[in-house]
Amino acid sequence: MKRFNIKFAILALCTSFLFVQCADDDDNGNVIEQISCTDGIQNGDEEGVDCGGTACEPCVGNIDFSGTYTQVDIMGRPGVNTVFSGSNDVKNDFNNSLVTERAAFQPIFEATLELYHDVYATSLGIPTEDLDYETNILNLDAPTFTTVLAQFDALQVAPNAPTTYFDGTNVLTGRNLGDDVIDISLTLMFGGTTGTRFDGNNGTPQLTSDGIGVGDRDLTLGFPYMEPALTN
């Protein structure tokens, strides 16, 4: 008798599993709810694979991408327009121009570069002609430096070399999130041949570094490489 009860109990248990399975199989509504816009198949009222219908994004072929889009802002290297254009009209012209149309900007940039130096001279009561830009650490004189800025205004990006804007040895192979583009730019403008012309030493002002580094921004992240937005 006891043995029978055990068999009955096992049978009952198995039967209950069957019912559980049947109950799930019979629940067609539950299956429909599992249609998703990311399941890789066209189902439900989707018009394509995971697109269209009531739940998913429109199928790309049905989205309007027509029209003409016209340039209103452009950027290659950091700071070029804001530093060297010198007036709002020139800045707007720069943003509307193509990289190949920048010859006219070179003399403007060179004048701005010299103007920065003239301000020092004026404030010191010395002739402005006695204080000029000095050929920088890349051995670029003022016309050449400003030609590079005006007419070659793009990030040079080397696909087969480590990236750096300038690390003291390597130069212009791209721009990392952590590269100190301000200090590099200041050094190229005010550092002279040695890079230390106005570095705060020997009675000079500190004009080659703003003293700021990347701080606690995380440079070790995988894609998309940037920290989430700060919330406070």
Binding site: T70, Y116, V119, L131, Q156, A161, G203, Q206, R217, M226
Partner: protein, 239 residues
């Protein structure tokens, strides 16, 4: 000509005055016609990916954004096309473009598309038949990424990686902090440290970008540089 550094040493310092225009940011708020609009480019980055066979392109827009409501309410504009331009022949004319444009809550990416000579320049159409991929636009509290055909995609708010002592800079240009100039690191303050930007990030296998041309540095006597694409980003508004 007098030796300038000696002049400064002799006078012990100098004043900077008279400048209203200098660095404001890398490209943040760079001109009146685009400042504080949805087309305003803040920064461009381009670097080797964690997979060194890939290049990562980052455009940041509409910065700087304060955390909180300003960031939460910032959004990409469906009428603004962002283009990463890649010159792989050395003439500073784009040979390839990667386009990004928003529709609904998704950022769509196209290319890298070969640009016919007649289609280069200030006006563009979207290469809608060359979809590279798409990604749901992320919010402040979530991060969506997508991959397709070796490419990776992201669009949404991120922390601003541009750093600069902007307030000290204003003091420097006003002459009020002569003769010191900028501050030492222990005293300097990063204006952008706690600010955000809208960011578009796309990572691309180099095999999709063609061979890189000789580095333009060679044209001005900077020798020994590795071959390099010329890359710039443009923001284009629908007409």
């Amino acid at each position: 000509m007098m030796k300038k550094t000696k002049i400064f040493a002799a006078l012990g310092g100098l004043a900077l005055a008279g400048f209203s225009i200098f660095l404001i940011a890398a490209d943040h708020i760079d001109s009146p016609s685009v400042a504080n609009t949805t087309v305003d480019i803040a920064d461009l980055y381009a670097f080797q990916g964690n997979n060194e066979n890939n290049t990562v392109f980052v455009a940041t827009l509409q910065g700087p954004l304060n955390p909180g409501g300003v960031t939460e309410n910032a959004s990409f504009d469906e009428d603004v096309l962002i283009e990463f331009n890649i010159d792989n022949t050395g003439d500073f004319v784009e040979d390839l473009v990667i386009q990004a444009v928003k529709r609904a809550d998704t950022m769509y990416f196209f290319g890298p598309a070969v640009v016919d000579a007649a289609d280069t320049g200030a006006s563009s159409s979207i290469y809608s038949d060359q979809l590279a991929g798409q990604v749901q636009i992320s919010g402040v509290g979530d991060t969506f990424t997508a991959t397709n055909n070796g490419m990776s995609f992201f669009a949404g708010p991120r922390r601003d990686y541009f750093y600069f002592d902007f307030n000290r800079f204003n003091d420097v240009i006003s002459g009020s902090v002569a003769p010191e100039g900028f501050l030492p690191p222990s005293q300097a303050s990063d204006f952008f440290e706690a600010l955000n930007v809208l960011s578009i990030v796309v990572e691309v296998p180099n095999s999709m970008l063609g061979s890189a041309p000789e580095h333009v540095g060679g044209a001005v006597g900077i020798t020994g540089l590795p071959n390099a694409y010329n890359v710039w980003v443009s923001a284009k508004r629908k007409q």
